[in-house]
Amino acid sequence: MLKVTNLSISYKKINAVRNISFEVREGEIVSLIGSNGAGKTSTMRTISGLIKAKSGSILYEGKELIGASPAQIVSAGIVHVPEGRQVFSKLSVGENLELGGYLTRNKKIRQERMDYVFDLFPILKERIHQKAGSLSGGEQQMLAIGRARVTGSRLLLLDEPSLGLAPIIVEQVFEVIQTLRNNGMTILLVEQNAWDALQICDRAYIMESGEIVLSGTGQEVAENEDIRRIYLGGKETWVSSLHN
C-alpha cells in the first residue's frame, strides 16, 4: 500500500532521516519506534506533504507522493493525525468533523462517515456543539482521530496518539486503533510508548538517529534483547521516563 524507498529528509539543515526504506501493507498496523529525535515525526510529516524530502521515493498504491501537496495527499487517501492533538480549538466539535470531510463534496457520504465516528466516540456526539478547545486531552485525541476518519482516507498516520494522556485513556486510544484497523483502515503508528505499540502492531521498525536499525513483527521486536534493554527496560522505567 505504502512503500518508502531510500528516503532522506533534511530538516532545518540537519539530516533528520537518512536513507530509510519501509513498507506498510493493506490492513496492517505498522509501528515506527524510536527515541526523541530519531526522525519518526519527520518521516510522517514528509509522507503527508508537510515537509519536503531531500531524496527518495514514497509510493502510495503505486503513485509517487514526493512533490504532492498535503491536499493532494489527503485526496489520494492518506491522512495524518500529528502529535499534540491538532484540533481546530475555536471551532465546534461538529465543525471539526465536518472539516475532515472538506474534500468530500457529497454531503451524504460525509454524514455517513460522521455517524460512524459518533458510533465510535459517542462522547463527541454529546459535545457536538462544544468548542473543541474545551474538550479534555483524551477527547481531543478522539476528535483528531475522528476528523481523520471523516476524510475517508484508508491509510492513517498516527503520531504519538498517547502523548500526555492518562493511562486509562491511552488504553482506550489503543483500543480505537485496533477497531479502526478491524474496520478496514491501515495504520502507521509512531509511538514512544513502545510497549503498547508493539502489543498491537503487526510489524515494527525501530529508528535511531535517522536510520532504521531493526525491523520485524511486533513480537520479534519485543523479544529482541537490545530492544528490551534500550526501549522497553521494564514497563515501570518506561512510564517514569515519560515524565522526565
Binding site: 503527508s48 506533504g49 508537510l50 498535503p70 491536499a71 489527503v74 485526496s75 491522512v79 495524518h80 493525525v81 500529528p82 491538532q86 484540533v87 481546530f88 480549538s89 475555536k90 471551532l91 465543525e95 465536518e98 472539516l99 475532515g100 472538506y102 474534500l103 476528523r147 476524510t151
Partner: protein
C-alpha cells in the same frame, strides 16, 4: 439634545466606515498573520474607479458595481503579486512590503490623476435630508449605516455557515491541521482578500459620497485609523473590528464636539490617548484573546 444627537449620528457614520475597513484588516490578519497596510488604498481605488466611470458617463448603479469589482481585482492582484511570494518571509518583510505597496499605489494614483482634490457627484437622492431629534440626517448616512450592518451580517454568515467560511476559520485557528484535512490555503487567502476588498470598496464609496471631495491620499489616514480600530477591538476578532471602529469614531467625534474652545483640534491626540490606555490594560485589544499570539 440636538447637538448630542448630531454628534452621535456623525460618530455612527464615521464608525461604520472604520468598521468596514477594520474587518478587512482583521480577516487578512487572522488568516495570514500579516498586517496589510495597503488595505486603506483599496478605498482610494474604489473611489477613483467610481469617479472615472461616472465621468465616462456610466449610470451610477453600474459604475458602483464595476468599481467594487475593480477594487476586488486589485485586492486579489496585490496578494498574488506582492504578498504570496513573501508569505513565509517573516513579519517584518511582510509589513515593509505592504507599506511599499501602499506608497506605490498612492503614487501611481497621483501620477495618473494628480493630487488635486476631486469631487464625487452622487445622485441627488442620497443627499436628501430629514430630521431626527433636531439633527440633520442625509440619506447616505442611513445607507452607510445600513450597508455596514448588512455587510457585517453577510460576513458573519459566510464565516459561520459556508464551506469556505469554515475553512477560513480553520486556517486561522490551526494552519497545519487545515493542511492536513486538505484545505487549499491559497484559495482561502484569496477569498479573504475578496471579502476585505468588497468591504473596503463600500467604505471608500460611502466615505467619498458623504464627504464628496477626495484625493489620492484619502486611503492612508483612513486605513491607519481603521487599523488602530482593529487593534483596539483585538486584531483577528470580527466583533472587535466592528466595536473598535465605532468606539474610535465616538471618541473622535465627541472629543472634537465637546472639548473646550481652542483644544478641539487635539481630538486625535485625546482619541489616541484613550487607545493607549486601553491597550495598556488589555494588550490584545477589547475582544482579543490571550492565546491569539501567533508563532
Amino acid at each position: 439634545m440636538g447637538f448630542f444627537v448630531a454628534q452621535l449620528i456623525s460618530a455612527i457614520k464615521l464608525g461604520s466606515i472604520y468598521a468596514l475597513v477594520a474587518i478587512g484588516y482583521s480577516i487578512v490578519y487572522s488568516i495570514m498573520g500579516m498586517i496589510n497596510f495597503a488595505h486603506g488604498e483599496l478605498l482610494m481605488i474604489a473611489t477613483f474607479a467610481l469617479w472615472s466611470l461616472l465621468n465616462a458617463g456610466l449610470s451610477f448603479g453600474l459604475a458602483v458595481i464595476l468599481s467594487i469589482l475593480i477594487t476586488v481585482l486589485f485586492g486579489v492582484l496585490i496578494e498574488r503579486v506582492a504578498y504570496r511570494p513573501i508569505r513565509k518571509a517573516g513579519e517584518s518583510t511582510q509589513i515593509i512590503t505592504s507599506l511599499a505597496v501602499s506608497i506605490f499605489l498612492e503614487a501611481v494614483c497621483q501620477a495618473i490623476f494628480n493630487s488635486s482634490s476631486k469631487a464625487l457627484i452622487i445622485p441627488e437622492f442620497f443627499s436628501r435630508t430629514f430630521k431626527i431629534y433636531g439633527a440633520t440626517v442625509s440619506v447616505i448616512d442611513v445607507v452607510t449605516f445600513a450597508s455596514t450592518v448588512i455587510l457585517t451580517i453577510v460576513v458573519v454568515l459566510i464565516l459561520q455557515k459556508t464551506r469556505i467560511g469554515k475553512a477560513m476559520r480553520a486556517v486561522s485557528d490551526n494552519p497545519e491541521a487545515s493542511d492536513l484535512v486538505g484545505i487549499d490555503k491559497n484559495k482561502v487567502i484569496t477569498v479573504a482578500f475578496i471579502i476585505g476588498s468588497v468591504l473596503a470598496a463600500f467604505a471608500g464609496i460611502l466615505y467619498s459620497g458623504k464627504y464628496t471631495s477626495f484625493s489620492n491620499d484619502m486611503g492612508f489616514m483612513l486605513g491607519v485609523k481603521a487599523f488602530i480600530a482593529a487593534v483596539l477591538g483585538g486584531l483577528g476578532s470580527l466583533t472587535g473590528a466592528v466595536a473598535g471602529g465605532y468606539i474610535m469614531a465616538v471618541l473622535e467625534v465627541f472629543f472634537s464636539g465637546y472639548l473646550p474652545q481652542g483644544t478641539a483640534s487635539f481630538q486625535t491626540t485625546f482619541t489616541f490617548l484613550v487607545l493607549i490606555l486601553v491597550l495598556l490594560v488589555r494588550p490584545n485589544g477589547l475582544f482579543g484573546s490571550n492565546n491569539w499570539k501567533r508563532s
